[in-house]
């Protein structure tokens, strides 16, 4: 659809969000992700029956963990859309990027000295 959305997003494709493990999400943050979104099919439309429902539970678990270890659960989120909703996808990415920009770099990047800007700062 050639819609515009921010370039700082790394897309990892999976056959179903049910394949996404808690460890994948935590690993992303360990390796310096500032935010992670899991985008799955609409509830009830999962090709594999309940993959997106398991994904939702796992995302909640990761939110909880991130809150408790000092990263903040707002850095991870789950969204549901169908494959035809390209516009919504772009919107989601913009939304999440905006949120993360406000939150600032992940405390992991700040602690390891790899953060390139502070919270709220926009690239020149």
């Amino acid at each position: 659809m050639r819609l515009q959305y921010p370039p700082n997003v790394l897309i990892i494709e999976v056959p179903c969000t049910g394949k996404v493990d808690i460890l994948h999400l935590l690993m992303a943050f360990e390796q310096g992700a500032d935010g992670v979104i899991v985008v799955g099919c609409m509830e009830g439309d999962c090709h594999y029956m309940a993959g997106n429902l398991y994904a939702k539970k796992r995302v909640f678990r990761v939110k909880d963990i991130l809150d408790r270890v000092g990263l903040g659960g707002e850095r991870v989120g789950m969204y549901n859309l169908s494959s035809g909703m390209g516009g919504r996808f772009a919107e989601i990415v913009r939304e999440m990027t905006g949120k993360i920009m406000e939150l600032g770099p992940s405390p992991i990047r700040i602690a390891t000295g790899t953060a390139t800007r502070a919270a709220g700062e926009v690239a020149a």
Partner: protein
């Protein structure tokens, strides 16, 4: 099997926050079945702790491993070649495993990573309920295969009490009345006459009340 649940993260962090090298030791036994302390849970906990330490500016190494069982020294021995390097071990085994690990490596600090809850069954994934109190003298033959000591909130042997209503226990509507279950089962089995004779007071010496217990099977020992 033994059923456990993961301890709150804050509690574990509180114990390990000053460590620099930490080992998370999972168990392939009961705690794997109830998804509280298996290798997977150890990996998640290790990743979470690494995030905690890093965001706090602390340098720390958190490794994870799993043992076949922690209630047997033959398997605990698998740690002997590497346990020395760690400041502490968080054991995700049940209370038995944590203690045995601590007993075998008595100079190592060992913290529990799960709360051991009860002996029970898997009704569904993620739904576990208590079935046995390990009283040491099983009376299931007399009660149609349903244990009043584990399933009656008052461990009555001549139940049900007057608080049994609609098949539920007075303590909580989520608890079925153990004695109503027994009654229905005895009815199905045609054994209702068991209800007519009073059961005499129980000998609790084989239970926790008799003190820490021991089994010695001379037939197995040479």
């Amino acid at each position: 099997m033994i059923k456990a649940i993961p301890k709150p993260m804050e509690e574990i962090i509180g114990n390990v926050q000053d460590c620099r090298k930490l080992l998370i030791a999972a168990c392939d036994g009961c705690v794997t079945v109830c998804e509280a302390g298996g290798l997977k849970e150890a990996q998640v906990l290790a990743a979470a702790l690494r995030l905690y330490f890093t965001q706090g500016g602390k340098q720390a190494q958190v490794d994870e491993t799993s043992l076949t069982r922690q209630c047997e020294k033959e398997y605990l021995a698998q740690l002997s070649d590497r346990i020395d390097q760690y400041d502490a071990v968080v054991s995700l085994a049940c209370g038995c495993g944590v203690q045995y690990l601590a007993e075998m490596y008595d100079k190592k600090i060992v913290y529990p990573g799960v709360d051991t809850c009860f002996l029970g069954v898997n009704e569904e994934r993620g739904l576990y309920t208590e079935r046995c109190q390990a009283c040491g003298r099983c009376i299931l033959a007399e009660t149609g295969g349903i244990c009043p000591i584990a399933r009656c909130s008052k461990r009555m042997l001549n139940g049900p009490c007057g608080g049994s209503e609609g098949g539920k226990c007075e303590v909580n509507k989520d608890i079925p009345c153990g004695w109503e279950l027994i009654y229905e089962r005895l009815k199905t089995l045609g054994q209702l006459q068991r209800f007519e004779t009073p059961t005499v007071p129980k000998d609790w010496t084989t239970s926790r009340d008799g003190g820490p217990r021991k089994i010695v099977r001379e037939d197995l020992r040479i």
